[in-house]
Symmetry: C2
Subunit: 414 residues, 2 copies
Amino acid sequence: MSRKTVVIVGAGFGGLAAARAFRGADVDVVLIDRTNHHLFQPLLYQVATAALSPADIATASRTLLRGQKNVTVLMGEVTGVDATAKVVRLKDGPDQAYDWLILATGAAYSFFGHPEWSDEAEVLKSLDDALTIRRKLLAAFEKAELADDPEEARRLMTFVVVGAGPTGVETAGTIAEMARMTLRHEFRRIDTTRARVILFEAGPRVLAAFPEDLSAYAKTALEELGVEVRTGTAVEMIADGVVRAGGETVEAAAVLWSAGVEARPAAQWLGAEAVRNGGVVVGSDCAVPGVADVFAIGDVASFRQDGKPLPGLAPVAKQQGKWVGKLVRARAEGRPDPAPFRYRDWGTMAVIGRSKAVALLGPWKLKGFIAWLAWSMVHLMLLIDFRSRVIVYVNWTWAWFTMGRGARLLTRLP
Amino acid sequence: MSRKTVVIVGAGFGGLAAARAFRGADVDVVLIDRTNHHLFQPLLYQVATAALSPADIATASRTLLRGQKNVTVLMGEVTGVDATAKVVRLKDGPDQAYDWLILATGAAYSFFGHPEWSDEAEVLKSLDDALTIRRKLLAAFEKAELADDPEEARRLMTFVVVGAGPTGVETAGTIAEMARMTLRHEFRRIDTTRARVILFEAGPRVLAAFPEDLSAYAKTALEELGVEVRTGTAVEMIADGVVRAGGETVEAAAVLWSAGVEARPAAQWLGAEAVRNGGVVVGSDCAVPGVADVFAIGDVASFRQDGKPLPGLAPVAKQQGKWVGKLVRARAEGRPDPAPFRYRDWGTMAVIGRSKAVALLGPWKLKGFIAWLAWSMVHLMLLIDFRSRVIVYVNWTWAWFTMGRGARLLTRLP
């Protein structure tokens, strides 16, 4: 019997956990990703706001899997799947055959039927996205300092964030803090503390996934940082840097979009059933019904547990990746399937600025500094390699005491 | 009497040293740079070879000068100088008037009458340059791992460096080391130890500014790292990734150019006399003859001491910046000029790979590990802020023990 091949598409939390489950197994694993790195997405907003460098939260996938000799990492873009021939099609390389296929391609932001807004607003999913946002934020203040006209300076110091989920809240809070604390003593012609950060949320409250009292706390904490929070306000138009929402018209230097996600196009590759946001409907074993030996995990999958779809969170992807890896390995090694998958919810957290957060950890609700401490510790522990941990720790400690941001680099004015 | 204004163009070693000389002075200082940061150029090759992140060796100029309330930092591109009206022209902002002007705009690479080679070869002067080189190097190995054809893989693992000054030697040595040590256990289809790094040098030896025995040592050390050193070999042609030199034709995935520098166009702005490489001829007080109240320092200036032009090195720029700052400050404050400028040569160093270097420190010639230790200490001490020092130290220690490179990030295949 020849050695079997498992192909994993996507080196995010799900794909990496799956690849690791094959350590020492008698199968070949091919991990394919469009980038060369695993990205710790929960801290991506800190790259966008110049607190961390890309390399602090990303590590080459090859390095992470160096010790697993049965894993080949390929940097390439998957363009489709032929489930009959059992091959994955690559844009820049030959087809890749599989015996089992694990799709962990994640999600992208969705503009709710307004694809034209994608040219107007920035999203935050990749390192390139984060660097684009960083460039826009830093350039806005530089241009304001150069500007002759106070009206123009005011426009340049106005930022709009759409969507008050964790990413929107974290980003809005951090921009406000940067303007009010980090930058205030460094400009001579503009007063950066007059920068405006406006957070629009269509729903009735911020951080809707948290209990009402934590939402209310987060809103107050944001307002104390100087963020103008507009809940119940859907965006009606974005064009040429102008945002219209709830009767208000705002001219902004940057619009950041964090309002909704849709799965990447794996369902189309397979001709499989998908839910409204594009997620591939999978069974209780993460398998795609009607397509042999293909699994989908994490944000690209729609998995129901106790009648409800699991949320698009890193721990879901990680736990599914680990479990599916175990399942496929058992099948490859001729052992019985593992006990059925069940997501264990250890809690969720969102951070608001330099020393506040909210956290929901099972029965416990935390807020304020203690929640921020919990958030910091958990995120440091989750960061994948030791070096990153040390560097993030140094950066955070330095930033905490100095209000500085170490990665404020701009190579040219956009 | 109204407050006088000193304009400094360029936030490199010279410009920054000049700005710092005005701490507490009763003048307004305006520091203008095309980027928003001061860059520690001696370590730029480590960003290009993925050992350090941009933020490890660059800091926002505003942050460095935050404490000097009389300094305004502007990010802008100077397009000319009107020495009669005493204003500096900016591309994106209003004219900036000066009473004294200090030009510290540095140098760029020169292609010796072959401007078309600038599209074929990469240079290493800015953070953008370093990230472009990093992308090319990393992508070459990724594409080689994807390639069907062994010939193509061989071409993708061939790198040419032109010019064996410190930058060329450091870069060539580091690429060879990266291929032979860092990457060798991380690819499955290609053998990265078979990568070729070819260093062309038109002159008779590498590191020509060093004594002959150190040059010979450096050549042997490079060859031990796997670099093919071709001295006495001028490049005749670079086109479509093919380099021809000394009868040899090499197809390369990347060509790095570090063969000669020319001053940036400050002489044209002033209609001033320039030497062959474009450097503004200055007097013994760094002033531009015939142009009132204008000084040029560092790589953009041609300054003769003891009948010889000073070399284009960071310490020259730093010492000149400090001295000219003192001079202008004395004049602004109605005090006599300081004692004439004299460059003090503390020595030069060049590093070859992970633990070897050559150093010329006054009467002392060092080579090997002891020179590398000296190099490491000096460069850590020179790094401008404490945070960078700690992070570079962590990165270096980690890299030294693991052979790893922490900043191996590629967001897409070019």
